[in-house]
Amino acid sequence: MGWSFHQFLAMRHRKYIKLLLTLLLISTLWACKKDDKKDDQDIQFDQAAFLSNLSAEVILPNYLELDNAVNDLSESIDTLVFRKSKSDLDKVQANLKTAYLAWQKVSFLEFGPAMTVGLRTNVNTYPTDTASIESKIVQNETQMDQLSMSDKKGFPALDYLLNHSSDSLLLAEFNNNRSNYLSAVVQDLKTKVNTVYGEWSGNYQSSFNSSLGTDVGSSTGQLINALNQHYERNFRDGKIGIPIGVRSSGIPRPEDSEALYGGYSIELAVANFEAMKTFYKGKDGLGLDDYLKSADAADLDQTIQNQMVSIDSELNALNDPLPAEIQNNYQALRDCYQEIQKLIVYWKVDMPSRLGVLITYQDNDGD
């Protein structure tokens, strides 16, 4: 361009390129040298094997267990509405509890098919709206599909219909309308669970196994986000926090307990936590614990496992029914809540940070 400043740059420029290349070379060599030092640390993590293990050993068996339990429950309800005997009622109540416990093993998997179906909202929205249920029964309305029905069906509605009174009174009130409503609720539950299990045992498993990486849509990203969202909102808050009033200006709301009528809220919470622990550990195979270890974060895994022990000991010290515990043993519940809370920080802040997983429930740009 015939401009002196350019020429000035031109002369310096060759040196500049050389400098750049030299620096690149040095940094590469230096980095390689450093790499030699940490040899045994660098376990290669097989993300595909991790996902296959989770889906084959944890997710599918858990959905199958729920599917079977719900089918059993449905069958026993058919018999109950037909015969209305005390032993039938006992069996239904036992089956309900089995199914409710089985639900705790999949409730934190709200992604993929469960997300599409809206499984959690459909099967476990509580507190259930008992007044509306009663008026639906009077009007013999059994349509379950509208969104507004979510707090009038599912496990909480079954819990109400099957546990809200003494056995003899329950049996006495089973007229046609009530039986219809009960059957419709369990039918809806069965359909939803069947659909999700069907998807998982069909095509979804392989697409889950092959969606690698840690982006928003990846399987790892989805499962960590789903686990965290459930743990925070449905486990910490739904099972303990809301009933003890942490979210209502400190005034307890025992009437918001899960399985309020059956009176086994704590048992469900314990089962739910146990299932999340198993999921974290990948049962006996590759789990999030191994993932962390491979990312040079064995210390964090240890912290998480220790915290799980603390939560277990707090949870196990609690007794059902929850409303009575709120009355008599309030401080223990608050302590338990605090221990549960600590794990959120490790799971939601530290774990994704170490694994490079984007914690977000919505897609967006970053920089």
């Binding site: 420029h13 940094s27 980095a31 400190g250 920080v345 920089d367």
Partner: protein, 453 residues
């Protein structure tokens, strides 16, 4: 002597073609970006569904306009960028694009991105630049507007602005963690090891070091490699490699394409003229015979512009250094972090629990963040002190409306920086309702101490 050389170079006549191409490329990419933004449903996610917005200090009056309003704003914004690209009612379109885009960005600092800031200031520069006076609908409608040449400084201000963006981004990378610990790339790259071909390399630690050093050197050197004609093609090759790599590896949206398009302005007038000729041919536009006609300014306008530009670039030069006025670790406190071209520099995550106390009843409880904030807002708030304070004040107001006279709000927040174990971020004993936000140092941010393990 040097000054005189620079002055003569800056006032030297040059072809207007690079500026016209810049206008077209920038307008077109932004047009696509805005459409993409709408199609992704982000207008609803970011500007309609949230109940609360984190406004910027001094811009509390900026509010979203409701669903219809926001869609109207975005649609007209897309249209404005399209008009800008084709040079139709250019001044109006560019002014509107700048105001509307900046308004949107000011609604919620949750959505702050360096590249949005970049778009805003380029829009501002384009408002005043005569980018429509060649190869535009405006000159076709009013041929007297047409100019073929202008003083070089009009083009140089865009080159300078781009150069500053890169250079500051490079300077920001010159820190211990980036260079000698390869953080955060050491965390981010292995997470991408499932990618075909390059995936297996990304697990290697040396690759993180290589990327870190290459990134820093790239940012620092690219403005110079681009301005000098002999290295320009090589530099542009690097631009493409670098930005495509970031596009493939990270969730970075349209930014790579904006930069790949914008850096074309460094190319020679001949290059741009041949681009324009090719577009002409493609669309069978007749190239009216052009007499050389140079854009001139009235002396008064010239002084006004010179004065404005000196102020503008002075601010651009100084602003990224304002962090020096604050004590503590910049990545931790983020005081003076925004608007400084610090791009993808750290892995930071946090979780904030707000404890509310009603001194009258003595009761205490926790706020339910997710009742008020979107997951993304919650996430961004948890690591940025000014947002934590804003939200604390919002909560106080919320509980006052619920009938609690003087709620006290404390935050227990944990933050992890670059994969370090999370630790307490804000003084958890402090009632945040007693604190007002300002640009003074926030003494209630706890100091960052690195743990060795």
């Amino acid at each position: 002597m040097m000054l005189a050389t620079i002055k003569s170079r800056l006032t030297q006549e040059t072809s207007i073609a690079p500026l016209a191409v810049f206008r077209m490329v920038f307008g077109a990419i932004l047009f696509v970006s805005i459409i993409r933004f709408m199609l992704n449903g982000w207008v609803d996610d970011l500007y309609v569904s949230p109940q609360y917005y984190f406004t910027y200090y001094g811009f509390e009056w900026v509010k979203p306009l409701g669903q219809t309003g926001m869609y109207l704003l975005f649609s007209t914004l897309a249209l404005a960028f399209l008009f800008q690209a084709i040079g139709f009612m250019y001044r109006w379109a560019s002014t509107y694009a700048f105001l509307a885009f900046t308004y949107v960005e000011l609604i919620d600092k949750t959505n702050y991105l360096n590249h949005y800031y970049f778009v805003s200031i380029i829009c501002l520069l384009l408002v005043f630049a005569p980018a429509h006076r060649y190869f535009s609908v405006d000159t076709w409608r009013k041929p007297t507007l047409k100019r073929t040449h202008l003083p070089y400084w009009v083009i140089f201000i865009f080159q300078l602005q781009l150069g500053l963006v890169y250079f500051f981004a490079g300077l920001a990378k010159l820190n211990y963690e980036w260079l000698f610990e390869a953080l955060p790339l050491k965390i981010w790259l292995p997470a991408k090891s499932h990618l075909p071909l390059i995936g297996s390399f990304l697990k290697e630690e040396w690759v993180a070091y290589l990327f870190s050093w290459f990134g820093a050197l790239y940012d620092l050197s690219i403005p110079f490699l681009l301005i000098f004609s002999r290295t320009r093609w090589f530099a542009y090759f690097l631009v493409i490699v670098f930005h495509l790599a970031t596009y493939l590896l990270f969730q970075i949206g349209m930014f790579p394409f904006i930069m790949i398009g914008a850096t074309l302005i460094f190319f020679s007038p001949q290059f741009h003229q041949s681009l324009i000729d090719r577009i002409r041919k493609l669309f069978h536009l007749k190239g009216a015979k052009t007499d050389r006609k140079t854009l001139t300014f009235y002396p008064k306008t010239k002084n006004f512009i010179a004065f404005g530009l000196i102020i503008y670039f002075f601010v651009q030069l100084i602003f990224p250094f304002r962090y020096l006025a604050y004590p503590g670790k910049l990545f931790w406190t983020e005081e003076g972090y925004r608007f400084s071209w610090r791009v993808m520099l750290m892995e930071k995550a946090g979780y904030a629990i707000f404890h509310i106390t009603d001194p009258e009843s003595g009761r205490s409880w926790e706020a339910n963040n997710y009742d008020f904030l979107t997951p993304n807002q919650e996430k961004m708030m948890a690591t940025q002190p000014d947002m934590i304070l804003q939200f604390a004040h919002f909560l106080a107001e919320h509980y006052q409306n619920e009938g609690i006279k003087n709620p006290e709000v404390r935050v227990e927040s944990y933050v992890s920086l670059n994969g370090e174990t999370s630790r307490l971020f804000i003084d958890s004993t402090l009632d945040l309702t007693t604190i007002d936000d300002s640009f003074a140092h926030k003494k209630w941010i706890l100091p960052f101490e690195k743990t060795e393990n």
